[in-house]
């Protein structure tokens, strides 16, 4: 049912059940919000989005007030603007005021609001916050002093991730956000996904930086600094550098990485192909020999930690494959090191990931082989952007370059890893080949694409009906896994990615990307797959080469030593 309401003296159409904010957005009227999160139940706690209701002569929160017939709303009356400004001034009254040193300088919602509302003096003085910065996690740094208690991190952690490792502690002016017993994040059930960072309006949450060590390694003549980047990076870095959102800038990114000083540039997508070779073989073996099913992907370190904490009984279901990042780390310091003669201890191996959990993954004990770590430093997309700015690289005036070979060539199947459902599609393509010896006629599996939280499909491989599911957002994983545990659903193969939409919307990506921007990233990934000719991992010539020269065969002795791992039940405070 629709009716008319009056906004800023203009009649506009509203539908029953909508909030005032919904109507404002549809009509292109911008009111600022802080605690509001799209598609989540409104809390109305920050009061930034207040508008004046002329019928009742009251200020109401537009995010949580449903429209009523005959409403008269003013969105920017003097009273409204003054009220919003006061809220910002109050938020600033106990804020550290160290914008120049803040990780979110120039990309901070509080800073923007302060500017938009023309806050030009400190009118309200409050006692400054004085909390400990929590640096205990290897992925995420929490600075409660910068927190404005909007609660978006708490809600994402609970409602999207199903983790709930943080909540509001204490009351009134003593309120902080923290873990159980206000301990370090490292002892909590935090899976390091970084989605809290993505929704944080200020610098209260950020990734742990590896900059000082990286910079000293780049200028150390004894070290060969090499870099790999995840499939999602080339389509998401653009926004960080204020280029066209979702554009694939792979070529100039390679050039920029070399300008920064990385001696060799590898593409993690190559080891995504390698992962597919191993994982598809593992799946075929499990199906043929009656192994543990459903097999669940293990590429996502957020999901892996989640499984170790909340679903330890399903650890046997996890694929034993390392993630592409760790596979690349392992082959650089063995295969590539052997080919080039650079000693593994002199290689400083850096990865660029759309993810904060990859920082955690890289330092896991199991990811070290004979005292040599697979990957030495992990940067997020944001940190790569920072590095490019620091080295003064003009992305508009760079000639595209290719990656180094070997370990640089990829199929378009590997590239799909960036999107939720991509690992599944790529694995099916290769598993089909392993079982039948032929190639799929139709590669695209539309049902597994897009941003839906849980996607299911059935694929016919030589008469065998393979049932697969793809999940993104760990709260959705809980729903699916619980239904499997209750025996309501059965699958052969499941892909689970922690972040909504997959890695292209990971916790290491550009902060402030719009929904359209993220959709564009996904579109670009699928466009690449449409355009390119090598659409399956097993036809990647460098993959064929590495098996011939080094690994021998999927699931072979070398593979087990270097490319596979195991997981353990993890005791944390749930």
């Amino acid at each position: 049912m629709s009716f008319l309401i009056e906004i800023n003296n203009k009649q506009v159409e509203a539908r029953k059940g909508e909030t005032i904010l919904d109507v404002l957005k549809r009509n292109g009227i911008k009111v600022p919000t802080l605690c509001h999160l799209k598609d989540m139940f409104p809390t109305g706690s920050c009061r930034m989005c207040v508008v004046e209701n002329l019928k009742t002569n009251r200020l109401v929160t537009s995010c949580s007030t449903p429209v009523e017939e005959g409403m008269k709303i003013l969105t920017h009356s003097a009273r409204v603007v003054e009220s919003r400004k006061t809220i910002v001034e109050l938020l600033l009254s106990n804020h550290p005021d160290d914008c120049l040193y803040c990780v979110r300088n120039k990309n901070c919602e509080l800073q923007n609001l302060s500017e938009e509302l023309h806050v030009r003096e400190r009118r309200i003085r409050g006692v400054k916050n004085n909390n400990h910065i929590d640096r205990s996690s290897v992925s995420i740094v929490r600075d409660p002093d910068k927190c404005i208690l909007c609660g978006r991190c708490v809600r994402v952690c609970e409602e999207v991730m199903g983790v709930s490792c943080i909540d509001f502690i204490n009351r009134g002016s003593k309120t902080v956000i923290g873990t159980t017993f206000n301990q370090g994040l490292n002892t909590s059930s935090c899976v390091n996904c970084g989605q809290c960072i993505m929704v944080c309006p200020t610098g209260a949450l950020s990734e742990k930086s590896h900059f000082p060590e990286l910079l000293s390694m780049l200028s150390n003549p004894e070290k060969t600094v090499v870099v790999q980047y995840a499939p999602a990076i080339s389509v998401s870095l653009a926004e960080e550098l204020k280029l066209e959102p979702g554009k694939d800038i792979n070529g100039i990114m390679n050039a920029a990485l070399r300008k920064i000083g990385f001696k060799y540039v590898f593409d993690t997508t190559f080891t995504a192909d390698l992962t597919i070779m191993e994982e598809a073989s593992e799946l075929v073996e499990r199906v043929k020999t009656g192994g543990v099913l459903p097999m669940i992907t293990s590429c996502c370190p957020g999901w892996i930690k989640f499984a170790e904490e909340f679903y330890p009984e399903m650890i046997p279901n996890l694929s034993s494959c390392k993630s592409p990042q760790q596979m690349m780390g392992a082959v650089i310091k063995t295969y590539w090191s052997g080919k080039t003669g650079v000693k593994p201890e002199n290689i400083y191996s850096v990865s660029v990931m759309p993810c904060t959990a990859k920082k955690f993954e890289a330092q896991r004990e199991e990811m070290t082989n004979k005292g040599i770590t697979d990957v030495d430093a992990v940067l997020t997309t944001r940190e790569l952007g920072q590095l490019i700015r620091m080295f003064g690289i003009d992305m508009n005036n760079l000639a595209p370059e290719t990656t180094d070979s070997p370990l640089g060539y990829r199929s378009s199947a590997g590239k799909l890893f960036a999107a939720s459902g991509g690992v599944m599609e790529a694995a099916i393509r290769t598993a089909y080949h392993f079982i039948t010896g032929d190639e799929l006629i139709k590669f695209k599996i539309e049902a597994l694409r897009g941003f839906k939280g849980c996607k299911e499909a059935e694929v016919d491989i030589d008469g065998l009906k393979v049932k697969v599911a793809v999940v993104n957002g760990l709260a959705n994983a809980r729903i699916l896994l619980d239904s499997i545990k209750r025996g309501e659903k059965t699958f052969h193969f499941i892909e689970i990615m922690a972040c909504p939409g997959g890695c292209l919307n990971g916790g290491g990506q550009h902060i402030g990307a719009s929904e359209e921007d993220v959709k564009q990233r996904m579109k670009t990934i699928y466009d690449i797959d449409d355009k390119e000719t090598i659409k399956v991992s097993h036809k990647n010539p460098e993959i064929i080469q590495i098996y011939e020269e080094f690994l021998e065969k999927p699931l072979g002795h070398k593979s087990h030593e270097l490319l596979h791992t195991h997981y353990y039940k993890r005791d944390v405070i749930h």
Binding site: S164, D167, R171, F181, H574
Partner: protein
């Protein structure tokens, strides 16, 4: 798991989150405080993240997370006591004991609690140690009072 905690939990249906506060009160009534172990057990029993339980428990003044000291000092922070200098009294006690209100000293002798009003405004500023009231205290007399309790504890 401690049997007392099991007994308390089993009085309530598993997974019934609405009983959180009565459960926490029961446990505190039994153990004197909410230990990490008991909070985790409550989380398991109610299928509730411990962060939520800790959030609820810290919201209310009544819950504490360390055991009471041998001598539990309640400092009245009501209006009458406040006017007559209870803040200085509290600060002196905190300095003497070496911990802030809401905590227990390392040696386990003293614990401090701020209370809103003890209903003894005529005695302001007033403190109570294990239920014994000490009237019209000031930063000098408080030290003597606490010294005598410390001697008792060391006997």
């Amino acid at each position: 798991m401690k049997t007392e905690i099991i007994d308390i939990l089993q009085k309530y249906p598993a997974g019934a989150k609405e009983n959180l506060i009565p459960i926490l009160q029961d446990i505190q009534g039994n153990e004197g405080f909410l230990s990490k172990g008991s909070v985790i057990e409550v989380g398991n029993y109610l299928s509730m993240p411990t962060s939520k339980i800790f959030g609820v428990a810290t919201f209310y003044n009544q819950f504490r997370f360390s055991p009471l000291g041998k001598f539990h000092i309640q400092v009245c922070r009501g209006t009458a006591c406040h006017v007559l200098g209870s803040l200085t009294v509290l600060e002196t006690i905190e300095k003497y004991v070496g911990v802030k209100a809401g905590s227990t000293s390392r040696d386990g002798i003293f614990s401090i609690e701020e209370v809103a009003c003890m209903g003894a405004c005529g005695l302001a500023p007033v403190i109570s140690v294990n239920g014994n009231f000490h009237a019209k205290v000031n930063s000098e007399s408080i030290k003597e009072i606490l010294d005598s309790y410390r001697k008792q504890a060391e006997l």
